[in-house]
């Protein structure tokens, strides 16, 4: 069956031409891959709750790159010169990501501040909500442990590395959302 003849679209002026044309393929994955190595320039310094996101992303990429990096650096011959890698390290790779996060002072500061604030917020919330939030944070903690254990069995597994970093970021998103939701509800 032949395709029906396309209706030809006409315009009366140049301004009627569509300003937007969607690319034939999704360019975001390539852009996202390049963003990870392109630091966003920092705005003039002012305390923000979400500065951890930049810290966490950078720490994660350094952690993954250094401790697990063989599978994540560009392929040989691409001209970017992957650094020499140590093949032995006392920490498992999952624990290495944990260590990288926990040793970053910005991440630790932001997380501690958010945890303190969220604890205080939860005290004022109905018991059922407290229980649900606590259960979700426990689910995240459990997910981190499961991922770290799985990485111990398959250290270069890019899927597990990605999910582990996602989980660290999700924890901070949850803490931030609970903190902001509590403030917003009070009209602060």
């Amino acid at each position: 069956m032949s395709a029906p003849e396309e209706r030809k679209v006409t315009v009366n002026s140049l301004a009627e031409l569509p300003a937007a044309i969607q690319p034939g393929q999704d360019l975001w994955p390539a852009i996202e891959a390049r963003l990870k190595s392109a630091p966003v320039s920092q705005a003039p310094s002012r305390f923000t709750r979400l500065r951890w996101l930049a810290a966490a992303a950078m720490v994660a990429s350094v952690a993954v790159g250094v401790w697990i990096g063989r599978d994540l650096w560009p392929l040989p011959g691409s001209g970017t010169g992957a650094p020499p890698l140590t093949t032995q390290h006392p920490l498992t790779e999952g624990a290495a990501v944990n260590a990288a996060y926990m040793s970053d002072p910005r991440y630790r500061r932001e997380r501690a501040a958010l945890m303190k604030s969220v604890q205080a917020q939860l005290e004022t919330m109905p018991p059922q909500t407290r229980a649900k939030v606590a259960a979700s944070l426990a689910a995240i903690e459990s997910a981190k442990k499961d991922l770290e254990n799985a990485l111990g069995k398959d250290p270069s597994n890019a899927l597990l590395q990605e999910l582990l970093i996602n989980t660290y970021q999700d924890e901070m998103r949850v803490l931030t959302d609970v903190h902001e939701a509590g403030d917003a509800g009070r009209g602060i």
Binding site: Q22, G24, Q25, D26, W28, T124, M125, P126, Q128, T129, K132, V133, A135, S136, L137, A139, I140, S142, A143, D146, L147, A150, K153, D154, S156, N157, L159, L160, E162, L163, N166, T167, D170, R173, V174, D177, V178, E180, A181, G182, A184, G185, R186, G187
Partner: protein
């Protein structure tokens, strides 16, 4: 003993008088047809409905401990805030019924209050801690953040940018369309989209059930640590797919065979149709099911 008895009697009187002081509040102010309406209520409920009048109308039933309801109006913006003093002894709940011009942009924040929104055609930004949320959308963007309440969003198939984030509540989204970013830690995400150009879904332990038609060259990505990902997504022009799970099962309805990766774990990738779009599903231990038919 006598002093304690007198103190108790005093407290009972205070509580009784607070409870007896429940009141109603009514106010109407003029508002622009597409202005912003901001509502903030700590506890109780909020019902918002759109109407054709260029006014915001507030009717509230107030618990005894509510200090007051502030309704202020400035060009392009109406603010409604329920004020409850800290450490109140009595009932700080307020049941708000608000009617707004249907083209309004709605900003709603509650802590322990259910929220129900209907007939509002403008952008909606809803932040709810522990209440359930039911809202209706009609082609305008939605940003909805919930902590522990369940969320129901009803669309009418008009394209918009939808951002829904829950910590532990379940999310049901039906007849949405356009771009969707949705996440939950432990809640279930049940999504049907009439058409989807971009979907980003993420859970830690919650399941995702998605059903919807993907537009040509659509991009669909879902990840979960231990939740299951079940996706039924036919697409104009087909898509390339990339499914990976460390220890969960991978299944499909188009007869593709699962591969075993070099290390531990499973993956399945291929192309359906012209491969115009792409679908990526990743889990650690959750199961994955992909079907290109609805």
């Amino acid at each position: 003993m006598r002093i304690t008895y007198q103190l108790m009697a005093c407290l009972v009187t205070l509580v009784a008088s607070a409870a007896a002081a429940a009141t109603t509040f009514d106010k109407q102010v003029d508002a622009e047809a597409r202005g912003v309406v901001e509502i903030s209520n700590t506890s109780g409920s909020v019902e918002v409905s759109g109407w054709d009048k260029p006014q915001v109308s507030v009717h509230a039933e107030l618990g005894g401990a509510v200090e007051r309801v502030e309704v202020t109006s400035e060009p392009g913006r109406t603010l409604i805030k329920v004020l409850v003093p800290g450490h109140s002894w009595g009932d700080g709940e307020a049941k708000l019924h608000v009617q707004v011009p249907k083209g309004s942009e709605l900003h709603l924040s509650t802590v322990s209050a259910n929220a129900n929104v209907s007939g509002v055609l403008g952008v909606q930004r809803l932040t709810v801690v522990s209440g359930d949320v039911v809202t209706e959308i009609a082609g305008a963007d939605l940003e909805l953040k919930s902590v522990s309440g369940d969320v129901k969003v009803r669309g009418h198939g008009q394209s918009a940018r939808l951002y829904v984030s829950s910590v532990s509540g379940d999310v049901h989204l039906e007849h949405g369309a356009g771009d969707l970013e949705i996440s939950s830690v432990s809640g279930t995400l049940a999504v049907t989209l009439d058409s989807a150009r971009l979907v980003r879904a993420r859970t830690t332990s919650g399941d995702l059930r998605f059903e919807g038609k993907l537009t040509r060259a659509a991009s669909f990505e879902a990840t979960s640590v231990s939740g299951d990902l079940k996706v039924r997504a036919p697409a104009e022009g087909g898509y390339s797919y990339d499914l990976s799970s460390f220890s969960g099962d991978i299944d499909n309805c188009f007869g593709a065979k699962r591969e075993k990766s070099g290390g531990v774990g499973h993956s399945l990738s291929g192309t359906l149709g012209d491969g115009a779009g792409h679908v990526r599903l990743k889990t650690m231990s959750g199961d994955i099911e992909l079907c290109d038919r609805s």
